[in-house]
Every structure is written in C-alpha cells, then in structure tokens.
Symmetry: C2
Subunit: 237 residues, 2 copies
C-alpha cells in the first residue's frame, strides 16, 4: 500500500467515524423527541402510565449522553481532527448536552403529569400547554433537522421561534397567575401547570442552543449571546 492509498484509507475510516457520530446524535435526538411528545400527551390526558414511560426513557437518553461523549473523546484522541472536522466533534459534544437536558425537562413535565393526574380537578392551562408544547416540539425537530442538513436558514428560524415561545410563555404565566389570585384553591394545581410551562420554555432555549451550534458548525462563527438581528447578520456574512 503506497502512502496515498494509506492516507485515503485513514481518511475513509475517519469519515465513517464522523458519520457514525452524527447518526448516533440523531438517534438520541429521536429518543428525546419521543420523550417530549409523550410528556406533553401524558399531561394533557392525565395518563400517568405514559408519564412513567417518559421517566424510563430518561435512562436511555442518559446512556446516550455518556456513550456519545466517549465517542467524541475517542475521535479526538485517535484522529486528531482539524478545522471543520474538529468543529463537528465539538458541536456534537455540545448538542448532546442540550438533548440530555431536553430529556431531563421532559421528565419534569412527566412528573407534573403524575401529580396532576392525582388531583384531577379542572384543566386550566392545558390549552397553553398544548399550544406552547406544539411550538417547542417543532423547534426541537427543526433544530435537529438543521444539524442533519447543515441548514443555517432553518437554524435561524429556530432562533426566531424561540422569541415567539418566550412571549407566549410570558402571557400564559400572567393569565395563570391572575387565575390563581381569583381562585386560591387552585394554587397548588395551577403551580404544577406553571412548572410544566417553564420546562417547555427551557426546552425552547435548548433548541435555540442547538441551532446556535449548527450556525457555528457551518459558518465557523460563534452565534451565542447574540440578538436575533445580530445572528441574521452573522449568517448572511
């Protein structure tokens, strides 16, 4: 085997390592998306069996976090990637953590669903949960698609959606607080809905973080801590 063949061999192996890494991250994404969907449904339909499933699935996403992290470390140690390959590994290591957090917040929602299924009195706030929940689920899906396709425009769209979710969250909170003040017997119940909404809002933030990493991956520029117009400008440069 001459040198060039050897180099090609190495680089083929390296590419397949990176492809496997990417595939594992997207698999983990699938698990976490399902957790999120199930947690919202368990809350809406007071289905504590489904909520339990979400808690079980968390073990799976935790294991994914550890194994993908190990994979990143192994690639860095053995392959010593540079430039965009290095960025890919570092971005995967960051996104893994956001996905794990999304799984974590979904479990919190599932726990609220279990509490609420025991109380079973009224559905105040469920419209908001469904609405913001759908919004946030789309964001998570789009952030993963933007990663899979290196699509910075879609990543930007996720950041825009995060702003909408923050506004919807703010107005839902105000409404529910007013409701509690008018009928204090509902406080303990409505607080559970508030916590679930807060988890959804946090999940939106994590989807935005993933989108920022996609912009860094494709553009090589750090998109964190920017306003939306700053981010748009950075992408167009």
């Amino acid at each position: 085997m001459d040198n060039m063949q050897f180099d090609q061999h190495i680089s083929r192996q390296f590419n397949s390592d990176l492809e496997a890494l990417k595939a594992h991250l997207l698999q983990m994404g699938g698990v976490v998306e399902q957790q999120l969907l199930d947690s919202i449904q368990s809350l809406e339909s007071a289905d504590s069996a489904l909520a339990q499933q979400v808690l079980v699935a968390e073990i799976q996403s935790n294991n994914f976090e550890i194994s993908i992290d190990e994979e990143c470390t192994r690639i860095l140690a053995r392959r010593q990637p540079a430039a965009s390959d290095l960025r890919m590994v570092l971005v995967v290591a960051k996104i893994v953590r956001d996905l794990e957090r999304i799984g974590d917040e979904s479990s919190k929602i599932a726990k609220m669903a279990i509490s609420l299924s025991e109380q079973n009195d009224g559905q105040k706030g469920y419209v908001e949960i469904r609405h913001i929940g759908n919004h946030v689920r789309n964001m998570v899906r789009d952030s993963l698609t933007s990663f899979a396709r290196f699509d910075v425009e879609l990543a930007l769209a996720v950041a825009r959606e995060d702003k909408d979710v923050d506004q919807e969250y703010g107005s839902a909170m105000r409404e529910l607080i007013t409701f509690m003040m008018e009928d204090p017997r509902t406080i303990s119940r409505v607080l559970n809905v508030l916590w679930a909404l807060r988890s959804l809002e946090r999940i939106g933030d994590h989807a935005r973080n993933i989108a920022e990493q996609v912009i860094y991956l494709v553009k090589g520029k750090d998109a964190r801590h920017l306003s939306l117009p700053e981010m748009e400008k950075l992408v167009q440069e």
Copy 2:
C-alpha cells in the same frame, strides 16, 4: 536544537497553554461567584442598583465563555493533546458552560430582586433565600476549589451538599405555597421568591455538574447520572 530539546520545548509550551486555560477558567469562576453573591444580596436588601450590576457582569461572563471555548478549540487543533491533557481541555469546555449558566441564573435572581424592590411589601421567604443561597454559594466555591486542586474528596462533598439543598428547596417550596394559599394577595410577590429559589436550586445542580467533571478529570471515569453511593464507590476504586 536536538530532538529531545525540541520535544521539551513543545511540552513546556503546551503545559503553559494548559496552565493559562486553567487560570482563565478560575478567573471566570471568580466573576460568576461575585454575580451570585451580589444577586442574593440585592434580593435580600431590595437593592436594585446592585441587581443592575449583576446584569452588567453577565456580559463579562458571556465573553469569558466564548473566549475560553475558543482557547479550548485552539489547543485541540494545534497541540492535539492525549490522555489526561485531552481530558483537561474537554473538562474545561464543560465547566465553562456550567459557569455561564450559574451567571445566567444569578441574573434571573437579580431580575426578581428588581421586581421585588418595586413591590416592597414583606420579606416572606427571605430567610430561605439567605439560607439556601449561602449553601449554594459554598457549593460553587468548593466545586471550583476541587477543580483547582484536583480534589475528588471535595468534589464528592459538593455532590452530597446538592442533595441537602434539594431537600431544603423542597421544604421551602411547600411552606411558601401554604403561605400563598392562606393569603392570596401575596401570590404575585411570593412567586418571585419561588422563582429565585428555583434558580438557586439550579445553581446547586450546576455546582454538582462541575464536581462530576472534576471526578472525571482526576479519575478518568464518568460520574454523571450516578446516585451518591455509586459516586462514592467510583471515587474509592
């Protein structure tokens, strides 16, 4: 310059890169610790000017996050570290994110302090804020010290404290919810205290994350998603 000298030269430069990285992380830690201290004090003393300072300091910790992350990427690209050196770079990249989040949660507390200083009616929940706040501040300090000294015993102590904080948080929440139910006029005020307590609880989680990274750094074993006894066993192995 013969080869051995050259190697020594490279490794000296590399060591000083790692030392600088470590120093920058601890500098960022100092900024974030101050943010946390100021946010708690601004809340306790209804000092909205101090709360504003916390919000300004957040820009500083955000900038630290970006520059330390760049430093990590540069070291990985140029020095291609292996084994414990590689672990150090990866651990710093993870801890940076936790520190940034601690700064972020401190800003949320500062915002609650500003709201509360405008309402200015009663101090319900302040004892809990002070108590849990002190606890969490110690955890953040100890987690950074455990990193600076590679002290796994201290890292374990942080994980133990996190469990205590979670319990204190739970009982503070129950008490404040009962208080709101008894006097619904306080709902909007007490909710601000609840949010601040929740931020403190989250900061405790981040300190625990830092401690887990220190265990990984020193022991080379992943300490995430473990119960306390599992973690103790892992450290003793």
